[in-house]
């Protein structure tokens, strides 16, 4: 019984965590003509490692600016800069972890 409760709690927490990324990131980006993975590969192209990519993304999301954006001028002129995130620090980290896991290159190359 205790084991069942523990597993259920873990699964519930996991589903709640995943929802931060889906609810707050994917839902908005679905409305844009550029899919969310393109931003990921832009960051990967510039920052390379998981640590650096997440750090750059977090910096931008907390204080979005043209200067810290990885997107080109044409893109920014057309779509502008996103508004500052209202997610908490933990929520932001969880969302970025999910984002990394979804599009990371590690383990996908054949």
């Amino acid at each position: 019984m205790v084991k069942f409760l523990f597993i259920s709690t873990v699964m519930l927490m996991t589903s709640l965590q995943a929802s931060v990324y889906k609810d707050n990131c994917v839902s908005c980006h679905e409305e844009l003509p550029v899919s969310i993975d393109k931003y990921f590969y832009r960051y990967l192209l510039k920052y390379s490692s998981e640590k650096d990519v997440k750090k750059a993304m977090k910096t931008y999301l907390e204080n979005p600016s043209e200067k810290s954006s990885v997107m080109g001028d044409a893109f920014i002129n057309r779509f502008g800069i996103k508004y500052k995130t209202d997610l908490t620090n933990d929520e932001l980290d969880k969302a970025l972890n999910d984002y990394w896991k979804t599009y990371k290159v590690f383990g996908k190359l054949k």
Binding site: D37, Y41, L44, L45, K46, Y47, S48, S49, E50, K51, D52, V53, V105, F106, K108, L109, K110
Partner: protein, 395 residues
Amino acid sequence: MLALKSSVIDLRQSEKKTLIGFFLLYTALCIVILIFISFVYFKVQKDFMLSQKRITLQNYSNEFIARLKHLHVNFDKYQTYPRDPRFQSAIYDSDKKQIFSTLKSDSINLNSIVYTSKKKIHFIKEPESYYLGSKYVILEIDDDLVWINKTQRDLIIFVTIAFIFLLIVGYFLLKLFLKPMRDAMHLLDRFIKDTTHELNTPISAIVANVEMIDVNGLDEKLARKIRRIDIGAKTVSNIYEDLTYLTLNNKIISQNENINVSELLHQRIEYFQTLASVKKIEFIENIQTDIHMYIDSKKLSKLIDNLISNAIKYNKIEGSIKVELKNGYLCIQDTGKGIKKEQLRLLYDRYSRFDKSVGGFGIGLNIVSMICKEYHLDINISSELNMGTKVIVKW
């Protein structure tokens, strides 16, 4: 003056040691220099090979990065890592974490540009943009080892020739190094030869005339004076004979014959009686009769004379000399000051003198040693300080 020609110079033990030491040091230095040159040459050849391979690898890497870029752009469509039969490759992120690899060698040094490892050549390239997150692109090709075989062959030839050349140079250096020493020894030998030649006639005259004087017919005071002249003449005569032996006798063919050693030993003891009486030294004889030996009589006399002369010279006042002779065995033992253990091994060196308070050139035992060597006699000298010295000759 007649200068006797002699090209034979005996180097002393210590001088031989110095020369051997010099030779070993020189050889070691040559080897170190050759190892250093070989190392530098090997390094240069390796760098030259790598610089050639680097051009090829640079071209491969450009092609590979172009394919990596294409994959990055189309990663949502396919994820097949670009492979090439000409080389193996790997990509690492900025945290030096491996993204993907087809390398056969796992020893990667991301801080170098091109290097060899386990018969593989690795080339590290940092693309301008990190396609698929790859900050480091590593290309690997086989090292065909052609360069190393060629370098080894070159080095063997070079080292052999250089070593032989350095040895020849070393030989001439050694000769140069020896020259002042040889000159000094030549000068000394020449001086001795000239001096001995000039001493011959007067010594013979003194010895012959003293022997002709009938001491019994003289008064005691004059007889004592004549005995002193006899001792002095015999001492000079002995030194003369030693020096003559060194300069002449050891170079002439020995006149070997069957010698009665017992008789000769008695004669020589008799000859030295006058000399021994000055220091009141007593001879204790234990001589077996009719002991024979096949030897040159002059050389055997020289051997016995030198041993007895030393036993008198280094003995104390009122000391004794034990002379023992039996078949294949001659022992002369004195009761003198003895010789230090560390000086024993230098005894046979020419001009070695450990007690400067008594006269001599330090050539006596050198002559003894030469005679023993010629007739394969086994000589053993043992000594105890303030107790005496014992010389045993066996044949």
